[in-house]
């Protein structure tokens, strides 16, 4: 089952690369300079030995991780609080509904003006963007808690704090992790975007700008390739964690593993 799926995926990627390679090598006119996949992959491998690129990746990933952690630390308690206090949630709902759809990338110019410390500015926009998926999913998880499960614990004489700790939080935990997984992808986009817009001493985005000023489309794509791989790996790891930790939830929602 799974190996067949992987095989099909590999075949799809290989097919795409081959078609791309052939189109670029033989199909395009000479005045369009677009590097073929083989060259991009070759450069991508080369980047693994490039200290400038590697330190850039380290910088981007550090901002990414810091921003993601901070957003979880803020959004999970906030979501739990709003999810447990219906009146507070009703009061804040309109504000949330207004802020949430604003594309987070749009606040980067504002952040550049307001926050003079470069890395702090970058982490801040990552935090802002990742906040939403974690918050919304936490809220969703809190609403999804079965009232009868809460009543069951209450019927044995447990108080509100115990019900929160032993029923609401574990029941909402899978939703929180899903929120973190979605946030991880968004955080990576913001980490690179902030570098593209604000520059800086290093980072995947900074590397891409520098490659661009040297007209190195192959290097731009090679760096982008690694950004994509990082996003994919992070997503897969979190999917794996969801399945491992919350197999009971998968069974309940009927998800196939």
């Amino acid at each position: 089952m799974i190996s067949a799926r992987i095989l099909r995926g590999v075949a799809g990627v290989a097919g795409f690369l081959i078609v791309g390679e052939l189109t670029i090598r033989f199909g395009l006119t000479d005045d369009v300079v677009f590097p073929p996949p083989s060259l991009v992959l070759w450069e991508a491998m080369g980047l693994l030995a490039d200290p400038v690129f590697l330190s850039g990746v380290a910088i981007t990933l550090t901002n990414w991780a810091l921003g993601l952690i901070a957003s979880v630390v803020i959004a999970v308690p906030l979501g739990v609080l709003l999810g447990s206090l219906a009146s507070v949630e009703r009061a804040t709902r309109p504000l949330l509904e207004f802020l949430r759809p604003i594309p987070s990338v749009a606040i980067i110019p504002l952040a550049i003006l307001l926050i003079p410390v470069d890395s702090m500015m970058k982490v801040s926009v990552i935090v802002y963007a990742s906040l939403w998926p974690v918050l919304i999913n936490t809220l969703y998880g809190m609403h999804d808690v079965d009232p009868l499960a809460k009543e069951s614990l209450r019927s044995f004489g447990f108080g509100a704090i115990d019900v929160l700790r032993r029923v609401s939080l574990p029941s909402a935990a899978p939703f929180m992790l899903t929120g973190v997984r979605i946030a991880a992808g968004i955080a990576l986009i913001l980490a690179v975007s902030a570098e593209l817009l604000a520059g800086g001493t290093g980072g995947i985005g900074v590397f891409v700008i520098q490659a661009g000023s040297g007209n190195r489309t192959d290097l731009i794509l090679a760096a982008t390739f690694w950004a994509g791989i990082i996003g994919m790996v992070a997503n897969s790891l979190l999917v794996l964690a969801e399945r491992r930790l919350f197999h009971w939830h998968q069974a309940r929602t009927g998800a196939t593993t």
Binding site: E151, R154, S155, G157, S171, W248
Partner: protein
């Protein structure tokens, strides 16, 4: 032990309000096993929720051992009608059963032993490590019963606890309840729609009217104990009582004794 006086409960308000219970009076003696039968939608579960302090009735009062029920009282356990939703899906079966015991002065080992003992008593000695979603409906129901039994409450409320088990298991569980009551001096209120079951298990059978529920019949069951699934059920007193309860449920007049 349990005193219910002039209890009323209305869901909602205005023209759409539903009068679930109206002017219900009932008292249950210490150690008694009371069966409540009544038509579907009569308000039986509502009555049970009021006794457990899970809802605040709109009128009248409930007293347990003389104390007015305001919140969920200590020393009470409930087996909910919707057993599968009342179990915690993120915990193993054994942990589900052991969790309420945190309210007692028991260490981890004692809790685990008590949970295992209760699981054995419902015929699930091997299921402790499984998760609720891995069990059949009937098995989940027995876990819910085990959880209440392990708690050794002074008052146990059971809402159609044998609804989804096969006939053989049902008889075994009926006998288990009788046996537990004999050993631990529990007071038990058991809701059922099965007239035979109410007579077989109960010391007393109370019949509720259609909504709004109030008591329309209150019969003492004087059958020899220990009861036996075959001989008790063929006894003429049993047959007679069963017919009497049946007539009450159907709203017919009682036959003259």
């Amino acid at each position: 032990m349990l005193e219910i006086s002039n209890l009323s409960h209305v869901y909602g308000s205005g023209p759409g309000a539903h009068h679930a219970i109206e002017g219900l009076n009932l008292s249950v003696a210490e150690g008694e096993l009371l069966c409540i039968v009544g038509p579907s939608g009569a308000g039986k579960s509502t009555l049970l929720r009021s006794i457990a302090g899970l809802i605040q009735p709109t009128g009248g009062e409930v007293r347990i051992e003389g104390k007015l029920v305001k919140q969920t009282p200590d020393n009470l356990a409930v087996v909910f009608q919707d057993y599968s939703r009342s179990l915690f899906p993120w915990m193993s079966v054994a942990d589900n059963v052991a969790l309420p015991l945190r309210r007692k002065k028991m260490d981890k080992q004692q809790r685990r032993a008590a949970a295992q003992e209760a699981l054995e008593s419902v015929g699930l000695a091997e299921a402790g490590k499984k998760y609720p979603f891995q069990l059949s409906g009937g098995m989940q129901q027995r876990v819910a019963i085990a959880r209440a039994l392990a708690y050794r409450p002074a008052l146990m409320l059971m809402d159609e606890p044998f609804g989804s088990v096969d006939a053989q298991t049902r008889e075994d569980l009926e006998d288990l309840v009788l046996q537990v009551r004999g050993h631990h001096k529990m007071t038990i209120v058991l809701i059922t729609h099965d007239i035979d079951e109410s007579v077989y298990v109960g010391d007393r059978v109370v019949v509720l009217s259609k909504a709004p529920a109030h008591v329309v019949g209150d019969l003492k069951v004087e059958l020899a104990s220990p009861r036996d699934q075959i001989t008790t059920r063929e006894h003429s007193d049993f047959v007679h009582l069963r017919a009497e309860v049946g007539r009450l449920v159907r709203g017919l007049e009682r036959t003259p004794a």
